[in-house]
């Protein structure tokens, strides 16, 4: 299994010379099975470059959305496969008790926010509620579960062959916990992440920043280190960097993390490619 990061930034695209090394595009990751099958994780602004890199490749593309906050869907209208008449795009996302996926995506993909409506996209578009149980998508087995973040938000656990990753880009497992991390059964996201080879996880804030942003749906670096240790992951990749953190700030933050982490940790960088 191979993972390529196309957008690692949280909340807002943050292009500029001060963010050039870690990248300014919002959440998007490419996951490839050994046979080349593709999953796309989230559709932040990073998905535009991924779509361009895919070129005229035919066949099915599956996009797994964790939630419908703007930084995770804003790239959809610029994802080339959605406009290709021969293409087939499946979009998976969190279920809602109030509106189906088409209606919810249509709030963004329609005027006045966007000139093209969902129904006018050229590809064959299939929308799914993310399944609770293990579900095969090509050679992958995908599981989804609700996690702590404002609004319906899911994380994913993806397995291909003997390798597994967990993707929790927006996650505040410490919210309200008096003794974080508690036991696994009382920790949001635990079963998604437990024992995976690679955990891609929200690490938006420093501990000081978190203190004034409790309930915003994100983790401090201390929280993600504790979560990674609790879930015994093989490797941690930090993600959803705060738009206010420039490259030098992230360098310093991650140096501190690497010194304190009980598991191998790396900062997620746009363009980074990992083979598991």
């Amino acid at each position: 299994m191979k993972v390529v990061l196309w957008g690692t930034r949280g909340s807002l695209p943050s292009a500029g010379p001060e963010t050039a090394r870690y990248g300014g595009n919002t959440a998007c990751a490419e996951v490839r099975a050994d046979d080349g099958s593709l999953l796309v994780l989230d559709a932040g602004s990073g998905i535009r470059r991924l779509g361009a890199a895919l070129g005229a490749v035919e066949g099915r593309v599956d996009v797994l959305l964790t939630h419908l906050h703007m930084d995770h869907i804003q790239g959809l209208g610029f994802f080339a496969p959605l406009f290709r008449e021969s293409g087939e795009v499946h979009i998976w996302g969190p279920p809602s008790i109030t509106a189906d996926m088409r209606s919810r995506l249509g709030r963004y993909l329609s005027p006045p926010l966007f000139p093209v409506r969902v129904r006018d996209l050229g590809s064959r578009l299939v929308l799914h509620d993310a399944p609770e149980g293990p579900t095969p998508i090509g050679p992958f087995v995908v599981e989804a579960a609700l996690v702590v973040h404002p609004g319906p938000t899911i994380g994913y656990r993806i397995r291909a062959g003997s390798r597994s990753i967990a993707y929790l880009p927006d996650h505040e497992p410490a919210l309200g916990a008096r003794d974080f991390p508690a036991s696994g059964c009382w920790t949001s996201g635990h079963d998604l992440a437990a024992g995976v080879d690679l955990l891609i996880h929200d690490a938006q804030y420093t501990a000081d920043e978190y203190a004034s942003r409790v309930g915003w749906g994100h983790s401090s670096v201390d929280h993600v280190l504790a979560f990674a240790k609790l879930t015994s992951v093989g490797r941690l990749l930090t993600f959803h960097h705060d738009p206010g953190h420039d490259d030098d700030t992230l360098d310093a933050l991650h140096q501190t993390m690497m010194e304190r982490s009980g598991v191998p940790v790396e900062p997620g960088r746009e363009g980074m490619s990992l083979t598991l």
């Binding site: 319906p152 036991s183 059964c185 437990a194 024992g195």
Partner: protein
Amino acid sequence: MSDHEGTQAGQLPIELILLRQVASYLDLPVFLVDTEGRLVYFNEPAEPLLGLRFDEVGELSMVDWLAAFRPADVDGGALATDAVPLVVALREARACHAVLTISGLDGVRRAIATTAVPIRGQGGLLGAVALFWSAP
């Protein structure tokens, strides 16, 4: 969740996790059970009425906590299992209120008023929660 190598018992639904977190801040006794009626948590304000700290009790099956607390009506008559508000909330998926007596784990019988409510998430019934307080 599926086969997670080397992990402990399965994670509870996020709705129960958040309910426990909220309950841990409330000055109101809260008693939380899963879909099987298994006691998974009660908070500190519940401890004086139930007679022990949750850490000393731990999780209990519905059969065990019914046997331990021996719910009875206000006249002391044993309450049928199907009349216990939490059981009603779980089995009939509706709210239920009652005034009853329970035997605390410290051996003291106390009158309580309780309202139990089923917890429904997007995936259906996830458990039930009882709020309770001393009855006059």
